[in-house]
């Protein structure tokens, strides 16, 4: 070991030299500094006395990190926890690597090396994780999964076989007055410090002496440590009761061993085995008379006595009432003493606390390594919307254009001219097979058999509670083949639902979810016919019909329906063609004043028509009756999902219903409360000022009062009325034009 002058680190702003091979703790001690002002040091990662802030990370065990030139160490404040970081903590993303093997051995001491060698002799693929090599295991999880922090990121090790815990045993620390002083070390730490060339001065050994050091052995029972900041003497009591004071510079502590078995206990029920000292039972030290038991939380023997005397007898309650064992070392130091204390006071020797992750600490950034946000899908037209300056929003689980900047202009393009909208987010599913008709008859509350090929029908989807799950279309392609559509929000759920029922009824069907394979563009407005004619479709399908057609040279399935209240054609096509189709439609309609419309305009348009949005206007206990959609439910059909629930709930008087509302003046915010005099009767679910009607139109929940829906209401302090829907074009002639 040579003293290279270039090896310097910074401690509390001052330069400190260190030797190659030093860990940060040794570097501090070499400079005559104690990382936490005092306390018995173990140099083994067990105790809380060498914690410091290293390179901006607090609570680092300095004995576990190699000293590095330029390393910045700040000692924690002596009287308070380290400060909460202010502002952002920039940092590079940490990577977690996944490693597969047969056997994991944790700890590379003698027993760990032996276990690894034995497994290798048996032809096993062995991964070893050794804290001394910077591979600190933070926990064992079901899987099983062993997670370790390493010097180049996190390692997630997945063993097919067993996990061997060879983490050895921790040394028991002293509990006596003065145990917070500097200069107290465990016997093993004393040996290591001597080897590192630290001058320990006069060493007094209590219990098992350190190896390789000349010491004065202190006999008897430990009474206290004397000194101001550093230990200057240790006081022992002989068998005859007399006290003896031994002057010293360092006290070496050899009071026994406690297995480092937290990982073993954490892995309880998994293929985990301990070997060597980790498998031993804990030495239980003599019950302490005085002094600090838990340094992390500052708990003394008196504190234990005080809570026990007030009825806290269970180990877990003592822990919770004092917080002993809840700090950084998670009971490593105090647990043997609390068990000893309670046993001494007449309780049975209670088992250790539950072992919970994490056993070695990691930062939140390290914990989050290789984690990803849930991705929000984008339609094939995402780039088009952004180029057009759209405000993109997450809506219904997708990125969608909320508005292109002129919502009212977009609205009028639909009402008076022609507009296109990206509805690729709709759920789309093909159903084929001899069992297809039966599947849909049993799944939907509508009569499917009467639906002719080439026709479509609006449908509700119910669950077994009779609540509305979703709405959409059933489109019949031929005798045994159907196309189903679902809302954007329902699309991720629809496949699970349909497949589950098809399997549960054992029906012979083929299902293909095409939600992510097909784009869909809605062409809507009184000039939609004209645009479609220009696009090559001179004879578009009638209302609620569908057929295949070539639109601007692109193969599409054309569904005629209407959500906006105007003539609408939904063009389903391969996502590979979305951009081309979109651009061609915009070009063909340029002189018609075509504009794309966003979600916000669409929500206005549909509200004028009184169309509900499942999830916005419905709640998760909305029956068809509550949303005024009983017309969509054919109870004279044989069984379908939700039928029995509707029969059951129909016997109960209705309590509330979704209703159309209107008022003069600006539209209240969605969520606005609805009052009948001073009685709360419900709230607004959808609300917009209708440009075409010149008043605010809304959907909202109303409670029935004495069996009647109230008609004259107050919303945001202004009078409002319950009115039938649709608000606009109540005969529906525009959509059928």
């Amino acid at each position: 070991m040579t003293n290279d002058k270039s090896l310097r680190l910074i401690v509390d702003g001052s330069l400190v030299e260190f030797f190659a091979g030093d860990n940060a703790l040794v570097a501090l001690l070499r400079a005559g500094l104690h990382p936490s002002q005092g306390g018995c040091l173990c140099l083994a990662g067990d105790c809380p006395h060498c914690l410091a802030t290293v390179d901006g990370v607090s609570y680092v065990r300095t004995c576990q990190v190699a000293a590095r030139p330029g390393m910045v160490i700040k000692r924690h404040p002596s009287d308070a926890p380290p400060p909460l970081p202010v502002g952002d903590c920039p940092g590079t993303d940490i990577i977690a690597r996944h490693i597969y093997c047969d056997v994991v051995v944790i700890g590379m001491g003698e027993s760990g090396r032996a276990a690894a060698a034995e497994a290798q002799r048996d032809g096993k693929d062995v991964i070893t994780l050794d804290a001394a090599a910077g591979q600190e295991v933070i926990g064992i999880y079901p899987g099983p999964l062993v997670v370790a922090r390493t010097r180049d990121g996190m390692a997630d090790v997945h063993p097919h076989g067993e996990i061997v815990v060879a983490t050895g045993a921790a040394e028991i620390h002293p509990v006596a007055p003065g145990n917070h002083l500097a200069g107290i070390v465990t016997a093993r730490a004393a040996t290591r410090l001597a080897v590192a060339g630290i001058d320990l001065g006069r060493v007094v050994a209590i219990g098992t002496p350190p190896e390789g050091i000349a010491v004065e052995q202190a006999a008897g029972e430990l009474v206290r440590f004397d000194g101001v900041d550093r230990v200057e003497a240790v006081v022992m009591r002989n068998e005859n009761g007399s006290e003896r004071k031994i002057e010293c510079d360092t006290v070496s502590i050899g009071l026994g061993l406690c297995p480092r078995d937290a990982l073993l206990r954490m892995g309880n029920g998994l293929a985990v085995r301990a070997v060597g000292a980790a498998a031993r039972t804990s030495d239980i030290p003599a019950c302490p008379r005085a002094g600090t038991v838990c340094h992390c939380a500052g708990v003394t023997v008196d504190d234990l006595e005080s809570v026990r005397a007030r009825g806290f007898h269970e180990l877990e309650l003592v822990k919770r009432a004092t917080l002993a064992g809840t700090g950084t070392c998670q009971g490593s130091v105090c647990l043997p003493y609390i068990r000893s204390f309670l046993a001494d006071r007449g309780e049975s020797l209670q088992p250790p606390f539950t072992a919970r992750p994490v056993t070695r600490q990691l930062t939140v950034g390290e914990a989050a390594a290789s984690s990803y946000h849930q991705a929000t899908p984008r339609t094939a037209l995402d780039g088009e919307h952004r180029r057009l300056g759209a405000q993109m929003e997450r809506a219904g689980g997708w990125w969608r254009p909320w508005s292109y900047g002129d919502t009212v202009g977009e609205y009028w393009a639909v009402r008076k001219g022609v507009s296109i909208g990206d509805v690729s987010t709709l759920g789309k599913m093909l159903v084929s097979g001899p069992g297809a008709l039966e599947l849909l008859e049993r799944l939907y509350p509508t009569k499917v058999a009467t639906l002719k090929p080439g026709r479509s029908r609006y449908v509700l989807l119910l669950n077994e509670r009779g609540y509305v799950l979703d709405d959409g279309l059933i489109c019949r392609d031929d005798k045994t083949r159907f196309t189903l559509t679902f809302t954007s929000g329902g699309s991720s759920f629809a496949e699970l639902w349909v497949r589950d029922w098809a399997e549960s009824w054992r029906l012979d069907v083929r299902l293909l979810n095409q939600t992510m394979s097909l784009g869909a563009i809605n062409v809507t407005g009184p000039l939609a016919h004209e645009l479609l004619a220009r696009a090559g479709v001179g004879d578009p399908p009638q209302y609620l019909h569908h057929r295949t057609a070539t639109v601007t040279g692109i193969l599409c399935r054309v569904f005629r329906l209407s959500f906006t209240g105007e003539v609408s054609y939904e063009l389903h096509h391969s996502v590979a063609d979305s951009v081309t189709l979109w651009r061609r439609l915009l070009r063909l309609g340029a002189d018609l004043g075509i504009k794309p419309h966003g979600v916000e305009a669409l929500l206005m348009l549909r509200l004028e028509k009184g169309h509900i949005v499942v999830g916005q206007d419905t709640d998760f206990d909305s029956t068809p009756r509550r949303i005024n959609h009983e017309w969509a439910v054919k109870l004279d059909k044989p069984d379908f999902v939700g039928r029995q629930a509707i029969l059951r709930t129909d016997k109960v008087p209705l309590d509330r219903q979704l209703a159309g509302l209107e008022m003069e003046g600006p539209a209240p915010a969605e969520g606005a409360l609805i009052w009948k005099g001073s009685d709360y009767v419900g709230f607004v679910t959808s609300s917009v000022f209708s440009p075409v009607l010149g008043k605010a139109v809304m959907l909202g929940w109303l409670k029935l009062l004495e069996g009647e829906l109230p008609a004259e209401l107050t919303i945001v302090g202004r009078p409002a009325r319950r009115v039938p829907t649709p608000f606009y074009d109540s005969e529906g002639s525009r959509a059928r034009a």
Binding site: Y141, P142, G269, E464, R465, L496, R499, D500, E503, A645
Partner: protein, 81 residues
């Protein structure tokens, strides 16, 4: 809690790749159709011990599988397609 589910189509995958599905069992002792529906709609067996359930492999084959799992310790006892 995360554990692995052996997908018969794809192999063992973390539970986070799947969507949970309950298998509802209404006791035969309930015979009234409304009561059976009420039980089916709202009541859960919620057993402490082995239970049969469905999982949909959303991140993989997008198919359902059926398995038995012990709710006390998450041990998986049996899987089927």
């Amino acid at each position: 809690m995360s554990f692995h589910i052996p997908c018969p189509n794809c192999g063992a995958r973390a539970i986070e790749e799947f969507v949970y599905g309950e298998i509802v069992v209404v006791p035969d002792s309930i015979t009234d159709p409304d009561e059976r529906n009420l039980d089916r709609a709202f009541i859960h067996g919620n057993p402490e011990g082995p239970t049969s359930e469905r999982w949909f492999h959303a991140m993989g084959c997008q198919r359902w599988l059926t398995l038995r799992r012990d709710t006390r310790d998450e041990q998986i006892i049996l899987t089927a397609r």
